[in-house]
Structures are given as C-alpha cells and as structure tokens.
Symmetry: D2
Subunit: 336 residues, 4 copies
C-alpha cells in the first residue's frame, strides 16, 4: 500500500485525543489529516504538536473532504448516531465510540446507513482488546475450559462520576455496565436472553436522588445455557477493579487486576502489594491502541471489524432489559 | 473442672467418626463414653482403638445414661429433629449435624424442646470455623472493609454425588447451597430477605431427570442493604472450589483455595501450581476439630454456642425460598 | 501386628513433648510407655494427661526396660551421642534429635554403635517431611525440572535466640544453617563438596560479641555440578521465612511461605495479605508428626529410615567447613 | 523551550532503532535529525518511515553537524569509548549503550573527555528504569525495609547467545551479569567491595569450550555491610527470569516476573499461569523509553543524568573482579 489512509477525528475530548495519538504513533499505514471539535481553538497547539495540520469546528469539513477515508467519532454520545449516518452516506469508514445511542430507533437507523453504504463500522468496546480479557477469550475458544457454565464479571470504578453526569448518563446499566454486557457476550460467545438486576444506593445518596443506583448485581441467562453474573460498584476505594472468571465443563479461567509493579513488601505489619492501576486510562491504554490497529487492519485488508454494529446494539438491548428488571423487580427478556 | 465431660456419639458414619476422634485427641476436657450406631458390630474395633468402651445399636442407651452430659447427633438427616427433641428432654447438651430437618414444623419443635430444656445446642456448620472464612469474618467485624456492599461466595464440588443420593437430597439448595446460605449470614452479619435463584442442568442430564439442577447462581438481598451472590456447580474438574469475597465501603477481602503445597513449577509449558485440596475432608478437617472445641468451650464456660438453633433454621428458610424462586422464575421473600 | 511398639521418650522439653503427643495421637501402632526428664516432677501431670504411666528422672530406666522397643532422644544436644551409644547397645531403635553431636569423633562413635547393634536410627531433620519441601523433592525426583543447576534456600528466623544461647549454640552454621545444609542435600540428591560462607553482624552487636554472626550467605558446590545458595538471618521482622527454589535444565520449582489464612485485604492503603506463620512450631507442626509416622513405619516394616546416620553426619561436616570458610575468608572443601 | 533538541543516532542495530523510535514517538522536545550506520543503505526506508531525513554511513557527519545537540551511541561495543571521546570533544551530549568498554584505560579516557567537555553523559543501564525495579528502589529509599542486609538478584536468559557471540562477549560477567552488578549498586545504594564467583558449564559444553561458563552464582560484599547474591543462567526454559529481593532490618521487598496476561487456568491437570515475558525486548521495552525520557530531561533541565560515567565504570570493575575470582577460586577485592 503506497498511500496512507487519511483519517478525520470528530471530537477531541480525552478519548478523541487518545485515538489521534494512537493513529499518529502506532498506525504507520494511517495519518490524521483533520480534527474537528466545537472548541477548535483550544486544541490547535495540541494538534500541531502531533503534526495534524487541519483543525476545524465543523465536522462536515471532514465528511466533505474526499481525501479522507475514515472517521473516528469521539464526540458526545447524543451525536454518535447522527454523525454515523452522515459519515456512512459520505462513504467513510467509521470507528464510533460506545454507545451508538441510547435510542433503539436511532441505533437501527445508524446501522442501516452503514449497511447500505458498505463501509467498515467498529464500535469502541476497547476492553475486548485488553491483554487479559483477550487471553481469556482465546483460552475459551481453544476449548481449554470446555463448555462455559458460569461467567463472572467484576467491574468496579474507583470513584463515582459527578452527580450532574449521573443524571444524564442513561443510568448505571447503559453507562457503566454496558461494557460488562459486551464482555459477557465476548467471553461466552453466546447471546443474553434474560436479565435480572438488583441495585442499591450504598455509595452516595445523591446518586439515588438522581434516580440511579451505585451498586448493582446482574444475573444473565445465555442462549447456550450458561449463567452470567456481573457485579458493579461506583466506588472501590482500592482502585479500578476489573476481573473476570469463566467456569466450564473442563476448567476455569480467571484474570486478576493489573498493578503498577509486582513489588511485594513484607514488614511487621503484613505483606503488602500494589493496588490495581487507578482507572481506565492507566488500565486500558494499550487496548485503545490495539482497537485502532484492528480497525485499520480491517480497512486495509478488507476484513470484518472485530466489534460490529450488532455488537454495538446488543449491549444496549441488555442494558434496557436490566433497567426494566430493576424497576419491576423481576427477570426480563432481552429484546431483539 | 475436675471431671471430664462424658459424651455420647449417635451415628458413626464418616462425620460421626471424625467428631469422635476430635473429642478423643483434641478435647482434653471431654471423652466419648458411648457410641451408638445401627451397625454397632461394624464399628466396635474402631471404637476400641480410640479407647471408647461402649458401643450400642440403640441411641436410647446414651440418652438414658445419666453420666452422659452431651450428645453429638451424626445420624441420618431424617432422625436429627426427633433425636434432638429426645436428647433435650433428657437434659443433654446437643451438637447436631446440619440440617436440623427439611421440615419447618419439625425444626421449630426441635428448637422449642432445646429452649425449654435450657441445654446447649450447636448446629454443624463447620465452615464458620475454617481458618480462611474466620479471618474474613474477623476483618469485617474489625471494620476493615467498612459496610459490606457485595458478598460473593463460590462453592463448587469436585464431582456430583450419585444420582440416587440426589433424589433424596432435598435438592441442591438444601443439600449443598445450605452451607453457602449459612456463610452468607455469617459473613454479612445480616439476614437474607429475598432470594432469586437461577439453575441449569449442565453437568449431568441424570441430575435433571431426578428433578434437580447441578449448576446454580443465587442472588441474595440482605436486610442491611448488601447484595449477595452464590455460584454453585456440582462438578469443578480441578477440585473443591471454596472462595469468598466481601466488598464494602472501605475495601474488599477475598480468600482463595487451600492447596496441598505452595509449589510452583515453571517449565517450557507454563507455570503450574497445585489444584485445591480435593474435597471437604481434605479442606475442612481442621474446622471439624475447631467446631468441637468451641462446642465444649460453650458447655464448660456456659457461653452461647457459636452456631445456634436460629442459625440452623435460617439457611433452611433461605433454601426453601431459593427452591420456590427457581420453580417460579422470580425473586421470593424468605419466610420467618 | 498385634502388640503396640513401646516407646521411651528421653527429654521432655518442647520437642520431646511434641513427639510424645504425636505418638499418642497419631501413631496407632505405638504408645509411649515411659518418659524421662531431669525435672520429672514438673512433667507428671502433663504425662498423665496423655495417658503415659511412667515418669522418671533417669533415662536408664528406659534403656533397661526390656519391654521398650524404641527411644526418642530429645534431651540436650551434648547428651545425644552418648545416649545414642547406650540405647544402641541396649538394642533400642533410635530417633535422635538433630544434631547428633558437634564433635566428629563422637558422631562417628554413635553411628558405629548403631551399625553394630543393627537398630533403626533416624535423625530429626523434620523439614524433609514438610508438605512444601517434600513436594519440591518429588517434582525433582520425577524429573520435572531436569538436572538441578541452582539450588536456593532462604531461611530466616523471626527473632534471634537469647545471647546466652548463642554462646553455646555452636555458631549459626551448626545451630541454624544445619537444617539448610540438610535441605540442600535432600533437594539436590547430591553431596556438597565445597563451601564458601560470608557472614555479618547486622541484627544485634551482642551476637557479634558472642563470637557469632547473625546474617549469612553460603554458597555450595555440589558433586553433581550444581551450585547452591543459602541465605540466613536471625531476624526477619515479618516472621519465619522458609522458601526454596530449585532451577534446572527443564524448569524451576519454588515454594513460598505458609500463612495462617489466604485472606487478602484491599483498601485505600494497598493490598495486604498475611505474614508467614510465625515460627517453627506453627510452620512445621505437621512435619513433626510425619517424621514420627515414617520412623515407626521403618520399624514396623523393617525399612531404611528416611533420615539416616549419614544424613546426620553430613550437615555437621558442611557446617564445620562453613565455619572455617568464614574464619579464613576463602572457599573450603567439606571433610569426609 | 521553543526549539527541539536535534539528535544523532550512531548505530542502527536493534537497540539503535528502539531509541530512535522512542525519541520520535515519546520525546516531544527532541527529534532525530541524522542516523549513522555502516549499512546506511539498508536502513533508509525504516528511517524515512520515522520521518528521519538524513542517513549516513559515517558517524562523523553527525559529530560535525553543529545543529546536532546530542548523540545516542548504539554502535558495536568496541567503538563506544572512541566515539564517546570524539562526541565529547564535539560538545555533544552523550547517551552511550553499555558497556562503555571492557578496557579500563579506555573507559577512564572516555570519562575524562566527557568531564572536560562538560557534556551530559548517560550509560544505557535500562533496567533501572523498569517499573518493578524502580519501585523496589523507591521503597528502599523511603526506608520501608530499613537497612538492607541481603540483596538477591535472579537473572536468567531464555536461551544462550550463539557460541560465536560468546567468544567475543568478554565472558558472562561482563556481557550478562554486568546488568546485575549495576542493579546491585542501584538497589543497595552502596558500593561492592569484594566478589566471589562460582561458575559452571551446565547448559552447553560449547560455551565451556569457548572459555566461558553458562551458569554462575556471585556473592557480593557491600561497603555498607550488606551481602549480595546474583544467580545467572544462560538458559531458563520457561523464559526470561528477572527478579530481585532485598531483605533488611525492617522488612523485605520482592518483585516477580511480568507476564503477558494475568490469566490463570485451572483444569484437571493443575493450575496454570503464563510464563514470564519472553526476553528483554518484551520485558524491558517501557524502560528503554523511560531512559530516553530521563536523558532528555537531564539535558533540558540541566540535571545530572540518572546513570553517570561512574555508574558505567563500576560494573566493569566488579565484572573484572568476578572473572578473576572464578579463575582463582577465591574472593577478590573490586578495583577502583
């Protein structure tokens, strides 16, 4: 391939910047040509330091640029589906941050536009690209644990987001657990048919007042007969707790948290090791790079992307079922 | 105390023998005077090797012996409540293997008899005396994890019992999970209010044909707001899997499985450590001794026993609720 | 075997009591008939509580008792070789605490007496019977690590003995490292040919004034080409540190410390697990029982004992070479 | 700082390429202007893909370029000291791969040239920048283990280099252990006074025929009284084994190997985890980036480099002493 893939980044918040850097430093076959952000002025210096020439506050400049092959949609959630539709119509390959939308009709419209345009489409469920979870998936695919029977996912944040954020977040199931729903599908290789959610306000009453819960346990019934358990907390004082365990007919595989170092200190007070890496930036940085590599690999080699439109839709369906389950105090079937 | 406590053991199956040995070797203040078993002839040699003089096939010989202070009821489950009642009326202190009964009326009758007689009564939930779980409880009591939010119990057997046993076992919740229900109460220091059980037949279709499940996930709602999760399997090919995790406002405590040794072997094939201790005899032998020590300590020092009649009743109530939940596919309140 | 082996215990200090209990509770084929101690009066109650009838202050009462088959020599070190000689002449099987003696002539005399009498003789290197070290030896014997290349032994006490004891202890190499020299031979399956010892006084100057060191590193050259390393400290503030690692052509095996429980506590301050079991009584209690089992097994089934007279001699030879090495600041060959 | 530091890379073998990439992608304040390699033609494409414009086969083009501020000397070992002298005279800041030289006179000449020129000089002991070892050093500096008493370094390669390489490598102590000698100084914060080395040919007889050993154990005596132990093997079949342990008056700190993932697989065969990361490229990639960051930080902020000329000299002195010790079979003082 003689020519580099030209990329437009839409939205230069934290995650948009990370992706722009990944493309610049780790994807030799691609380069960011233009970056669009409503606060274009504020990101110019940063963009130039990466060698990105064009900065605009109108993402249409990217969509209208015939030289640009692919876009990374990193703007606010409420714009994802709309920009996806426009980008698809403009014939751009699309990497879209999760979730595509909270509204099922809008998700379907976006996926339809993608399908009609025949462009590549990948959703930003980065945890699939994490070295630990990937290894679990590989071991399962290799048959090392036989048929999966029980899938356990622990996912706890080090501290809750601001209550203002909680109010517009769509609720814990669509904001936080959605990653775990994706993980459940990824690890099990099966679809979730039914959900039962329990929730409680144990961390901060203000979260309850905002209509959400901060502690949750969700059980899942998979099509292949397996049972899943997710446990969430908005506040694990020891840091970001991200573990999974998959138990099956021939064995069990677990992964534990990554730590800044393997140092273990033994003193008269006890034996101490390090806390988990603090939060998702520390923990998942490598996975953000890897998902970009795989996205561009799908473009270059015309392969299916590793996280498709369906993979973007399904966790939203599970999340909506979980929400309903919590409201009604009973198990709820996942919609189609 | 100048005189040794005289003990009668009723039922000399596997667990009866273990308790008789514990008393003989580890409880200097007590001695087994008489042992009763329907197959008295078969256990004579064994009894004499322990220095136990009297062997009978009628447990009334124990209840009628005024010299005997305490009885250990280790006979078949269906006899527990009846013998408890008779022993209480005879004024004996009682250690009763779990469960007291599967029938609530009979349990209540037994507990009433115990109360009226004013004798000590302890139920054989031995896992409370295990070094690992005890340490978890101590840390929680010491406030090290703050308020408990999420309690997770993993309890998997290395292999299923014979299907003939499954048929009369009362079902997985009353036969196997009952230990975990007790553990949930012990660790949380709170009562279970509601149960939602999911179950599947993934290990052996014959277990399903016998009307039971072999894989189960049970979520618990505690009075103190915490949420509990128990996961069970009748067959973990790598051995007896007995772990807990309690997550709270100030931290999280976990215990892992005990292994025969700490040896770790690194070769070209990987890094290998030992499987968990095989089953409950290997895993919990020390806890069987410890529960005896605490039982006799309660007698000698006139203290409350560490596992009371209520502690015997509650897990049965939770088990019955779990059964109903599985049958009806919905969360069920635990009865009183 | 219809008749129980009658045992005499000589010396009822801490270790003598442990062995008497092991025989009473764990060796059905043996029983302690008589126990001898210079403070006979002080141990009577304890002896009777175990059901041991005879207590004497003259060990000759044991040697002269034709009913007694075996003796456990647990008296002070300076009496070991002499009593061994007398017991051998009296035709008793002998279990002798380590070391046989610090004087080579006296060791040789004792071993000669044993050989002439044809009695069983076992030296109390209990660590060979520890579940961890035994497993390492089994893995090596099974060829799992191929040919051993490097053998590392870490052996650190939680606190130094009283300086008065240090003065008469024979020095760290004969008092403390002697266990590690035995371990080195046991694990390697080879003899030590040369020793280089480095020592320092880093824990307590009083130990230096007593003519000893409290910190030591000893390298060993084995006949089979392997190299060994032992590191010792008289004071590990976190507790008894007892680990080994054996590296070979096909892999490496390590064992870590045993802990009171597997509890791991994660808080805002870090991830904490338990310190090692405090000292040798906590750590090695099971191994004391096991060495007794194997001793009586050797008698009953007329097998070689698992720790022979040569096994008692060799570590003393290595210890003397280490002493000389430290004094002369050079590697020293081990004598025959 | 408005202008970027211009860098010349001398030698574009494996390590030269890694450093050039680190500067390009991770050091915003620097850029590689020119790269020199005897096989200039072969690296042109690679250089251009990084945006490096100038490629030459004569490193004097770099030294003579007044625009270039700093050089990275990554050429073959025998050229390090000579190029260091020339670069110092040309007023360039110098990052020099280890070792500076095997010849003491040439090292001293290089250090003298650096001193006279007043340029920054850093030696490539990258392991000091590894997250694990750095954390050990931090804990020691923070007084967490008190005074260091025993320092243990395990350093084993996954496979031996070609025998042709062994012949010109300077021997295991100067080629491989030299990193461990540096680590010993780094961790202890003290100088090594005396060395005793034991070596054996246990991996490959051809290494012995080439006049070297492939297995070694080296004990070190530090100025501060501590004792050090290094164990080396040219072939650990399970991968690159890089661990340290520092034991002191108030505690002990250890680090274990990094693994590709934390996955643990339990099956009927045992409990398996991953082997260490394969070799230094996998294990130490982050440390290569970090040492560059610190080098340029020293230039930009006019600070002392973290690995000075003395730090480059001392390990060679220790290595030479170890060589002599092995040849003469006795402990040897380290020269000045």
């Amino acid at each position: 391939m003689s020519k580099k893939i030209k990329v437009g980044v839409i939205g230069a918040g934290r995650i948009g910047k990370i992706h722009a850097q990944s493309v610049t430093y780790h994807i030799p076959e691609a380069e960011v040509k233009t970056i669009a952000d409503v606060y274009a002025d504020k990101i110019k210096d940063w963009a130039h330091s990466l060698g990105i020439e064009n900065v605009t506050n109108d993402y249409h400049d990217i969509l209208n640029d015939p030289e640009i092959d692919a876009v990374l949609i990193c703007s606010s959630t409420d714009t994802h589906s709309q920009i996806t539709i426009e980008a698809a119509k403009a014939g751009k390959h699309i990497f879209c941050e999760k979730p595509i939308d909270y509204d099922l009709d809008r998700i379907h419209a976006a996926l339809k536009a993608v399908e009609e345009a025949g462009v590549k489409f990948q959703v930003g469920f980065n945890r699939r690209f994490d070295h630990n979870f990937k290894q679990v998936r590989e071991l399962i695919k290799a048959g090392k644990i036989g048929e999966p029977h029980i899938i356990k996912i622990t996912s706890r944040d080090p501290e809750p987001p601001p209550v203002e954020y909680v109010k517009v977040s769509g609720g814990i199931f669509l904001d936080m657990t959605i990653h775990d729903f994706d993980m459940a599908r990824y690890l099990s290789g099966s679809e979730v048919e039914e959900v039962y959610a329990q929730g409680a306000v144990l961390v901060d009453p203000a979260i309850g007042e905002a209509g959400d819960v901060d502690t949750a346990v969700i059980t899942l019934k998979f099509k292949n007969g397996a049972i899943g358990i997710i446990d969430n907390s908005r506040k694990a004082v020891y840091g970001y707790d991200q573990r999974v365990e998959v138990f099956g007919s021939k064995g069990c595989v677990t992964v534990s948290n990554d730590t800044p170092s393997s140092a273990v200190l033994s003193t008269v007070e006890g034996v101490m090791s390090e806390k988990p890496k603090y939060f998702f930036l520390e923990r998942y940085m490598d996975s953000f790079v890897q998902e970009m590599k795989d996205f561009f690999d799908a473009i270059v080699n015309n392969k299916e992307t590793p996280v498709t439109g369906i993979d973007g839709l399904k966790p939203v369906l599970i999340g909506l079922a979980a929400k309903k389950s919590l409201e009604e105090g009973r198990p709820v079937k996942v919609g189609q």
